[in-house]
């Protein structure tokens, strides 16, 4: 047996870019699926239509991002192959988006926390040195802007609404807060991409996210929960460590495609 004479090469930028595209695409695929669970079940008709519309936008963005991920990977996988034929451990979404939809208050708070993360990151990504990524981000940002207006205005209505809506919204905020440090936590992949100008400098976006989120929470007469240390959340969804809920979501989302591979209708 011969001894390898060289060390393994450092990760190529292409692997990093693929990783970023999966993180962005999986966030939207999983959250789009969670929102679509409301179809036919939302409290009022207008809201049913609104949540389905947002879900559709997110799935459209996921399609663009995962298609690009397949191109960057160069192994012939398209967006459907990436959505339907990967297991939970291969998904790179943050854990915030995979939690069960909960009540309407929980869905709105989760959506708001994500939507603010989406606008600040897409705004930065629209200036990416990757022309393809910049184009997808600029397109998606237009949609994210009216998404955050929708979830943000609901935060104000629910938080500053009835005793029950206030109580449920605060409870959702308390439950979800510990999942928020993962949104803008940067690992080595992010650091390398930021140095090349391909990915955003995530920690630099944290003050913008904090300012917007805390301002709306206060205007909604809600209380900002106690902070949790960031370090505890670095090894999370971005490295494939998920809650049990993602596996259950994927089982439902992937069953038809896996039972009938290649089927069309």
């Amino acid at each position: 047996m011969t001894t390898p004479s060289v060390l393994p090469p450092p990760p190529a930028p292409v692997d990093d870019e693929l990783e970023l595209l999966l993180r962005l695409g999986d966030d939207r695929l999983v959250l789009g699926h969670r929102l679509s669970e409301w179809c036919g079940h939302a409290p009022i008709l207008e809201e049913d239509i609104a949540l389905a519309n947002v879900a559709l936008d997110l799935l459209g963005q996921a399609t663009l991002l995962l298609r690009r991920a397949g191109e960057v990977e160069g192994k012939g996988r398209d967006e459907d192959a990436l959505a339907y034929f990967r297991d939970a451990v291969e998904f790179r979404n943050c854990r915030l988006v995979e939690l069960p939809k909960g009540d309407f208050g929980f869905t709105i708070v989760r959506q708001f926390l994500f939507d603010v993360y989406a606008v600040v990151t897409l705004d930065a990504l629209s200036r990416s040195t990757s022309a393809e990524l910049a184009a997808i981000a600029a397109k998606s940002l237009k949609e994210a802007k009216y998404h955050v207006r929708h979830s943000g205005e609901w935060m104000l209505k629910l938080g500053d609404g009835t005793d029950e809506s206030h109580r449920r919204t605060q409870r959702a905020l308390d439950d979800l807060w510990r999942f928020t440090p993962e949104l803008l936590a940067a690992d080595d992949v992010d650091a390398r991409l930021a140095a090349l100008g391909i990915g955003p400098d995530l920690p630099a976006l944290q003050p913008a996210w904090d300012t917007i989120v805390r301002d709306v929470i206060q205007r909604a007469t809600l209380t900002v929960p106690h902070d949790v240390p960031h370090s505890a959340h670095l090894a999370g969804g971005r490295t494939g460590m998920h809650t049990e809920h993602l596996g259950q979501l994927l089982a439902e989302m992937q069953i038809v495609a896996r039972s009938h591979p290649g089927a069309s209708w």
Binding site: E46, L56, D57, L64, V116, V148, G152, V216
Partner: protein
């Protein structure tokens, strides 16, 4: 339609005229050109037609139908070497819908889009200029929901004629 010799090479203007007849399936009073989604048309020396299209919304289900309709319309005119290319940048904006097309939207009962404003990333409870009711022209209207029957439309209500109406979203 006059018969063309097989293998005739179209001019760019001929293709543009064909595209004027391809309507948006969701808003059938607007052609794909009036909608502003046709970004380029090229005809190669060999007669290959390449139409570059930009999507309206990332998840708009109509985009595939539109692409098929474009290919079919050009093929029916006798030019069979057609491909549709997608370009995401620059991102589509309703500012590309011209005044004539806006008038068609209004006549069809859809309030045309306003002008795109730049500004803060997050604008809650923003003051927006009142939308004019496409039926009675009153400005005494309110936005009921930013989300409607398709990705491109919001739902409004006219207090004067007491009718709900749709508005083409401004993006």
């Amino acid at each position: 339609m006059t018969a063309r010799p097989i293998g005739a090479i179209p001019t760019r203007d001929e293709i543009l005229a064909i595209l004027d007849t391809v309507m948006d399936p969701e808003v059938p009073v607007l052609s794909v050109r009036e909608l502003g989604i046709i970004r380029d048309v090229e005809v190669s020396a060999e007669g290959r037609v390449t139409v570059t299209v930009t999507p309206t919304y990332s998840g708009c289900p109509a985009i595939r139908v539109i692409e098929q309709d474009i290919v079919r319309a050009i093929e029916v005119a006798g030019f069979t070497d057609v491909q549709v290319r997608t370009a995401l940048a620059p991102a589509w904006t309703t500012d590309w819908i011209d005044p004539e097309a806006r008038a068609k939207l209004k006549a069809y009962g859809i309030a045309p889009p306003g002008r795109v404003e730049s500004g803060e990333l997050v604008q809650l409870l923003r003051h927006r200029p009142a939308t004019q009711c496409p039926y009675c022209d009153s400005y005494d209207t309110e936005l009921r929901s930013e989300f409607g029957s398709t990705a491109c439309k919001s739902v409004c209500w006219c207090r004067s004629c007491r009718q709900p109406f749709e508005e083409f979203k401004t993006i």
